[in-house]
Symmetry: C2
C-alpha cells in the first residue's frame, strides 16, 4: 500500500476507470499457457500447466504488493490490505482451470479482472476501508476431477475436504496427490476465511446479452438444476422380421420423453430449460430394434417449484407410457442444485455501477454453475455478466470483445469500491 | 446311390419322414464348433472355426456318397446324383457362418436339413430324377467381411468376385487370403452351376409364427429394404445459459423424424416396417445442447412402391422441419434391396407339402435377407420358415423346438421330391 494513499477522502471515484488494454494483455499472456492451435486453452486442473498458470497469477499479485494464502484444497487468496484489516475482505474471484477444449475467458476473466481492480487502486493510491481479496478456486470445471466447483464447494462445506481429496482422474491420480505435486496443497483450513461480500465477473456463456445488444448482465440468481438419467427397457429384435405390432421399441418411447423434456420447459417459461444432451442406444445397430435406451435429462428454472413442475410433467408422461406399452421406464436423479437468488445489495451495487458508468444493462439469470453459487451461502454475493460471441463457451472459439471485457471490470471496480468503503 | 433304388416307381412318398433325432443331433454336433459359454455359437466366416465347421459338414456329405465341389468364392455344393444327371439339380442350402453372438440354428439348420433329406432318401433307397444338391454359401452374415450374403451374391453376379475378394476384416486380412488359408478357395467359376429349383429352410427370426401358434411359414417373398443415414445439424450450446428460444437443438428435430420413421411404417401396413436402430449424438454431453445428431433409418415393405411411400413421408417431414427451424437435414441412402416375390410353383410346393403332412401353415413374408434372395434371380425359389423362441435370433439364446425343426425338414423333403421327380 503506497504511503500516499490518502487522496480519497471524498470517495468521489466517478472518473475512475480500469486500464482495459492492460487487462486484455494479461488475459492474452495467461492464455499462452496451455494454448491450443485453434486459439483456445487446455489447462486442466492440477496439471503442470495449471501450476504454471497459478504461478504466473500469484507472481503478478506479489508484484502488486498483495499477500498470498493457499488453503488445503488449493484455493488461493490474494489480499490487498485495507485501512481496517479487521473488516472481512471484499472479495472477487473465479477460476483459471479450463475445459479440455476451453477458451481464454471462462473463469480467467474473473480472476484477472480482480487483479486489474487492484492495479487500478494502486495506480490511484486508493486505500479501501475493508481489504480487497482476489481468489482463484480449485477445479471449477470438473473436467479432470469430479465434483465440479471443487474448491469453492469445499470452502462452503458443500462436501468434505476428504471427498475432494479422494477424487481421481482417468489415470487414477488423486486430487490430493496432484495438489501436492504442483505445490498448491496449502495449510489454511478451507472456510477459515471471512468474506464481507463476493462479486464474480464472468462471460455470460449464453446468447442473451448479445441477442439484446446489452453490455452488462446484472445477475439476479442462478437457475435451479435437476439432472436425471432415464432408461427405457424394451426388447431388442430384428428390424426385418418383426412386425410393428409385435415390437417393444425402446427408442420410440424414449423419443416421446425427450420431446416432453423440452415441451415442459417451454410450458414453464421464461426461464424454464430442458435438455437431453446424452443418448445411448443399445445395441445401436442399424437393423436391430433398440432394446434399451438411456438418456440424460437436464431441467432448470428460476425457482425450485418451477423445476418440480417440469419434472412432474416428464414423470407423468413416463408413467402413462409405461402403462400403455408395458415397457419399463426408470428415472434416476443424478444431481440437484437448488435455485439461488443473489443478495439484493450486491445486485443493486452491480446495477448502480453499470448505470453510473453509462453501460447498458439488464437483469439476467445464470443458467450455469459458478463458484459464486457456493459463496452465496457464506456472504452477500453477486455476479456481473458480459456478452460472449455467439453465446459460445467451453469451446476453443470462445471469444469476447475488449470493450465488454473493460466494461465488466469497471463495473466490478465500482461495485467493490461501494462495498469496501465505510 | 444304392443299387436297390428302384422301389419308388409309384412315387407314393406319403409316409416318408425324415429322422428328427438324427437332424437334431447333427445340429448339436456342429454347434460345438465355436460354442459359447451362454449356449450360442461364434463361428465367423473364413476363420479356423469356420474351416472346422465346413470340414465336418463336407465329411458328412462324403459319408453319404455325395460329391463335393467348391467354387472360387468358397461356396460348397454337395451333390447326390439323380437318375438323369443332365437335369439341373434341385438345390437346398443356407450358410454355416454365424454372428459373433449367434445361435445354433440360423443358417446351420438350412444346411443340415438338406443333408437330412439326403440321409432320408438314402435310407429308403429313393432315386430322384434330378440330382439333389445341398449348398452352403460363404459369409452370409457379413459380420467379419462386408458385403453380407457374399457367396450367394457373387454366385448371382450381384457384385463381382474381385469385390468380394478385396473385402477386409478389422485386422486387414482379405477374404481371398482367408479363403485360401482355410482351404476353401475352389476352382469352379461362381454361377457356372445350373439350378432347377432352390429351397431354403430357416428359422423365422421373427415372432409371427410363434405368436400365431403356427408350425410352417410359407414364405411369399422378401420385403424391399431401404437404408438411410440422416444427419440433423443444429448448434451445440450450454444447456444452462441458453434460453429455449435461442436454441438450435438437433435432437429435438431428430426425434420428430425418428417418430415419423415408425409412423409412416404404420400408415403402410400390414408389412410396413420402420426402425431407427442407431443414434449418435454430438457431443453427447449431459449439459450441452446437441449440435449434431446422426441416426439410421431402416424402412421395409412388401413392394418397392410402398417403401417409396414410407420414404416420402419421412423426407416430406424433413423438408418441413428444415424450413421451419433453419437446421440442415441431410438424408443419404446407404443401401437398397428391391422387394422380391418367390416363385409361385415353389410357394405352392411348400404349401402343399405342409398340408399333406398335416402341419399348420400360413403365408408369411421374410423381413430379413437370405441367400434365397439371390437364388431367386437364377431359378424358381422358395423358403420354409419355422418358429423360433420369442422370435429371437442373432443372439446366443436363439432357440427352436425339435418338433418344428423336424416339421420344417419334412416339408423341405416333400417340396424337393415334388420338384425332383419327373
Amino acid at each position: 500500500m503506497p504511503a500516499t494513499a490518502t487522496q480519497n477522502v471524498t470517495h468521489d471515484f466517478s472518473t475512475l476507470r480500469i486500464n482495459g488494454q492492460r487487462l486484455w494483455g494479461s488475459l492474452m499472456t495467461l492464455a499462452q499457457i496451455g494454448a491450443t492451435p485453434k486459439g483456445g486453452v487446455c489447462r486442466l486442473a492440477l496439471t503442470e500447466l495449471d501450476r504454471q498458470g497459478r504461478d504466473l497469477v500469484v507472481g503478478w499479485a506479489q508484484e502488486l504488493g498483495m499477500t498470498v494464502v493457499t488453503d488445503k484444497i488449493g484455493n488461493v487468496f490474494m489480499r490487498r490490505a485495507g485501512r481496517n484489516n479487521n473488516l472481512p475482505p471484499i472479495m472477487t474471484g473465479s477460476h483459471i482451470d479450463t475445459q479440455p477444449t476451453g477458451g481464454k475467458f471462462d473463469g480467467n476473466y474473473g480472476v484477472l479482472a480482480g487483479l486489474e481492480v487492484v492495479r487500478t487502486l494502486n495506480d490511484h493510491g486508493i486505500e479501501t476501508d475493508a481489504p480487497i481479496e482476489v481468489a482463484f478456486w480449485t477445479n471449477e470445471e470438473g473436467s479432470r476431477f469430479v465434483p465440479v466447483m471443487m474448491g469453492s464447494g469445499v470452502f462452503a462445506k458443500a462436501f468434505s475436504l476428504e471427498h475432494a481429496y479422494a477424487a481421481t482422474d482417468t489415470e487414477g491420480k488423486t486430487a490430493k496427490a496432484e495438489l501436492a505435486r504442483i505445490g498448491y496443497l496449502g495449510e489454511q483450513e478451507p472456510g477459515d476465511h471471512p468474506i464481507g461480500a463476493y462479486f464474480e465477473t464472468h462471460i455470460e456463456q449464453g446468447p442473451v446479452l448479445e441477442d439484446n445488444g446489452i453490455t452488462i448482465g446484472v445477475v439476479q440468481g442462478v437457475l435451479g438444476i435437476r439432472w436425471f438419467d432415464c432408461t427405457v427397457t424394451g426388447m431388442e429384435a430384428h428390424a426385418g422380421p418383426t412386425p410393428m405390432a409385435l415390437r417393444k421399441d425402446a427408442l420410440q418411447v424414449a423419443t416421446q420423453l425427450m420431446q416432453e423434456v423440452v415441451a415442459s420447459a417451454l410450458r414453464h417459461g421464461p426461464h424454464g430449460r430442458g435438455t437431453v444432451g446424452m443418448v445411448q442406444v443399445h445395441p445401436n445397430s442399424r437393423n436391430v430394434i433398440p432394446g434399451r435406451v438411456t438418456f440424460s435429462m437436464d431441467m432448470r428454472n428460476a425457482t425450485d417449484a418451477l423445476v418440480d413442475q417440469q419434472v412432474t410433467g416428464v414423470k407423468t408422461l413416463a408413467a402413462k407410457l409405461q402403462a400403455d406399452t408395458g415397457m419399463r421406464i426408470d428415472i434416476v436423479q443424478v444431481s440437484s442444485y437448488a435455485a439461488i437468488g443473489f443478495h439484493g445489495e450486491c445486485i443493486d451495487a452491480v446495477a448502480r455501477a453499470s448505470q453510473k458508468l453509462g453501460y447498458s444493462s439488464m437483469p439476467v439469470v445464470s443458467g450455469a454453475g459458478h463458484d459464486a453459487i457456493y459463496m452465496a451461502r457464506l456472504a452477500p454475493s453477486g455476479m456481473i455478466f458480459i456478452p460472449c460471441k455467439d453465446g459460445i463457451s467451453h469451446n476453443e472459439v470462445e471469444d469476447a470483445q475488449p470493450e465488454h471485457i473493460t466494461a465488466g471490470c469497471n463495473v466490478l471496480l465500482h461495485a467493490m469500491l461501494e462495498r469496501a468503503m465505510a
